[in-house]
């Protein structure tokens, strides 16, 4: 069943067009990785799905409902949660308070503070610590935990591993794997293409705002991603 339908989305920042006519479908339970160079439009696309950036054209349909004009906080209540780039925690609040903020979405489901701490045991010792005092990995775990507290059907994670130590990246991906097994649909942006191909069931590569490669992660080769990523097939000479 299609959970998310992105139809001909255009997104701009003033004069700059960041996303150009992007369409994609995400099935319920699927894990989709968006890869591509800096400036390819991955984060912007994620933000248009979450409702934090209004597209200039196109449609976003979630679970059969056109949400293009639905505001971000309403989309959270419908089951779309975004882990934004840079985590965006409330620095003065504790880990637990940051998690509890998300209960404002009033969505029923298995996620509560205890469940989050179970998936991210590294947070347990910092439960009452201010978010500002956390390491990058702990912040990322808290940000993902906060998104989970809304009991999302669709989890959007921007820049999963950016700035995290390799061992922490392992832990974060282990947790995401567990979420996926529980049936959560995940769309993530990942700079580390090897990691993205290993984790996701499907991969979409963007270049300058467009989708230039899409396929099941197991069928897509690193060489194909490399060509799509740099757009070198278009350069001709290379």
């Amino acid at each position: 069943m299609t959970l998310l339908l992105v139809e001909s989305i255009d997104a701009r920042y003033g004069l700059l067009q960041a996303v150009r006519d992007v369409s994609l479908e995400v099935e319920e339970g699927e894990t989709l990785a968006l890869v591509g160079a800096n400036g390819a439009g991955k984060s912007t696309l994620l933000c248009t799905i979450a409702g934090s950036h209004r597209p200039a054209g196109g449609r976003i349909v979630f679970d059969g409902v056109d949400v293009t004009r639905v505001r971000a906080h309403r989309r959270v209540r419908m089951g779309i949660a975004l882990v934004p780039e840079g985590r965006r925690l409330f620095p003065a609040l504790t880990v637990e308070e940051n998690l509890l903020v998300a209960t404002a979405a009033h969505r029923e489901g298995p996620w509560d503070v205890e469940a989050v701490l179970e998936v991210f045991p590294l947070l347990r010792a910092h439960r009452s610590a201010r978010a500002a005092s956390l390491s990058g990995g702990e912040q990322q775990a808290t940000a993902i935990g906060r998104a989970l507290m809304t009991n999302p059907r669709l989890l959007l994670v921007d820049e999963v591993s950016l700035g995290l130590a390799p061992v922490v990246v392992e832990r974060v991906y282990a947790a995401l794997g567990e979420l996926s097994q529980r049936g959560t649909t995940i769309v993530l942006v990942e700079q580390d293409v090897g990691r993205a191909l290993a984790f996701a069931s499907r991969v979409v590569c963007m270049l300058e705002g467009r989708v230039v490669l899409e396929g099941p992660a197991r069928d897509v080769t690193r060489e194909q991603v490399t060509d799509a990523y740099f757009g070198l097939a278009r350069a001709g000479a290379v």
Partner: protein, 224 residues
């Protein structure tokens, strides 16, 4: 540490592209070359003269011109006036020379027809051209380009490449940072790849883009 023992030289009239993943230190390198950031150690030479202690404005007069990633023209001034500022503040000289240089730069960047438009009315492509024209008007021997191709359509990128190759006929050397690799490789003879503040590859563009360490730097090391 953003830049770590970076060494490279650019010949007269040579065009060198600089690539590297986000956070590689490319823009910081450009800042160090332009003088808007002082390096903690090391040296920047222009025509064999040490300019490491020269401020950005002085380096500009000495021949280091720069087009920034985000054009910030004087919006209420005309396109010509903006370029005139570059010509006057850069190499300077008698007013008639400055005037001529501004006209030539506009012409080289395909902006003559828009000379009397207010800069704030320009679209992205023309803003990028204006940024380029302003840098060119300073009469640089080395032109530093920071992401001038971002956000352009294929046709616009082709026009930009044509403009830059016209400029180079006059002997300007170019150091060009660009995320749009397939555009960059068509505009330079040499490519330098940086990662985590270091130069990891330096050579002919096609060879650099096939280099395994370059691909790993962008895509992450293969785990599958």
């Amino acid at each position: 540490m953003v830049l770590d023992g970076v060494d490279f030289a650019v010949g007269h009239g040579e065009a060198v592209g600089i690539v590297g993943p986000n956070g590689a230190g490319k823009t910081t390198l450009l800042n160090v070359l332009a003088g808007s950031l002082r390096a903690d150690a090391g040296r920047v030479e222009l025509h064999g003269t040490d300019v490491s202690r020269a401020a950005a404005a002085r380096r500009c007069r000495l021949g280091i011109g720069r087009a920034h990633q985000v054009p910030r023209p004087f919006g209420e001034m005309t396109v010509f006036e903006n370029v005139f500022v570059g010509a006057a503040a850069g190499a300077g000289g008698p007013r008639s020379e400055v005037y001529d240089r501004a006209i030539e730069s506009l012409d080289a960047c395909g902006l003559s027809a828009l000379a009397n438009r207010r800069a704030e009315t320009l679209g992205l492509l023309h803003r990028k051209r204006l940024e380029l024209a302003r840098a060119v008007a300073t009469n640089p021997s080395v032109l530093l380009l920071d992401e001038v191709g971002g956000g352009l359509t294929d046709a616009e990128a082709d026009e930009l490449l044509a403009t830059i190759s016209r400029l180079r006929v006059g002997g300007i050397a170019v150091v060009w940072i660009e995320h749009i690799v397939h555009v960059l490789v068509r505009g330079v003879e040499r490519l330098v790849c940086m990662a985590q503040g270091r130069v990891i590859a330096d050579g002919e563009p096609a060879a650099v883009m096939r280099d395994a360490s370059v691909i790993d730097a962008y895509l992450g090391t293969a785990v599958v």
